[in-house]
Amino acid sequence: MVLIRHQLFFPTELISLKRIAGLDRITFDENEGLRIGALVTHAQVEHSPIVQQHCPALAQCVHHVGNLRVRNMGTLVGDLCQADNHSDPAPLLGVLGARVRTRSLRGERLLSMAEFHVDIYETGVKEDEIVTEIVIPPPAPQACTAYLRFSGNSPIDWPILGVAGSLVAEDGQCKALKICVGSLTAVPLGFDSEAEELKGKKLTPGMIKKFARACAARIEPIDDTRGSEWYKKKVAEVYIRRTVETLAK
């Protein structure tokens, strides 16, 4: 709707999904995990006992989307499909290993977040497909997840950046770390190669600082009204460090 209002999108045909049964459901099962239908609003995700139990970080994250009115109307799937690079949930869904289920007359597809995010306002969904749901696999036992965001103007503004992280640690040693940064680049950016370096090591403050610096060095942020490239790189380093510190606590 925002794209239509901004005259960036001119639909010639508009088909409502409202009456398709099952698209308004949130379910969880041990095999596939959490499934959030295309018609589920942000407010429903935020207040869903199922989401709060199985993916509390997502319930907390969607609270930051727009304002209450937007969360009452907008859907999580719609947020992703709009593919604005300032999406709050996008980087979090990245570290959660979420996939997007599409459907067409040709059948179903499950797209990873890397396959889904193509560019700003551009996704991997084909013209004859609709997105039916987001599927978030069950988290690894002992996995901690966090999402930290920074917005310069007011808390209800789009974020300057959002950092999502997921950590599995044992006896203070990093077993698996995932970090994904949203808003700075056209699509959310992951740091798997940098995180691989930390595998099996103790997460000391020095180690975390070095990791955050290495990640920030690879980011080439879009220079815009929310900050210059230089500024955003500095903020990214701080927020990546804080996210890993939060996870390691």
């Binding site: 209450l68 937007v70 007011s154 209800i156």
Partner: protein, 158 residues
């Protein structure tokens, strides 16, 4: 042609497929109390209640609101009397130009229906998406608190 239930009255409205509820209210039904502000769901001037939930009518297709119960600022007062929120906004000088006021009142109405005894922090959190650019938020918070007291006292008496 769609059917809209607005403030308890049923209206048959001829709308275009991409027409917003805001445009239908203002331009087709002459319900101009709902204001057109930013046009992108940020400012809250166009707030209406749909099935009791606050939404931005500038981002909602009119067709989507069919079959739902819509409340606009014109439907807040009853029997020729101001709603306690409207009276509290007047008593506290909680507006200057008044452009944001219909949205503020409807947002506050939704809040008080969910939480009859909100703290100042609750009010600020709930109404964070409604922007006023000429008076002060202090008076608005004060007005909502006064209305919440008034509504609670009225509920006790009845």
């Amino acid at each position: 042609m769609i059917t809209l239930n607005i403030n308890g009255t049923t209206h048959q409205v001829d709308v275009k497929p991409l027409e917003t509820l805001l445009a239908a209210l203002r331009d087709r039904l002459n319900l101009t109390g709902t204001k057109d502000g930013c046009g992108e769901g940020v400012c809250g001037a166009c707030t209406v209640l749909v099935d009791g939930h606050p939404v931005s009518s500038c981002l909602l297709l009119a067709a989507y609101a069919e079959g739902k119960t819509i409340t606009t600022i014109e439907g807040v007062s009853g029997d020729g009397k101001l709603h306690p929120l409207q009276k509290a906004f007047l008593d506290n000088g909680a507006f200057q130009c008044g452009y944001c006021t219909p949205g503020m009142i409807l947002m506050a109405k939704a809040l008080l229906e969910q939480n009859p005894r909100p703290s100042a922090a609750d009010i600020r959190e709930f109404m964070a998406g409604n922007i006023c650019r000429c008076t002060s938020y202090v008076e608005i918070v004060r007005a909502v608190k006064q209305a919440s007291r008034g509504l609670r006292n009225a509920a006790k008496r009845s």
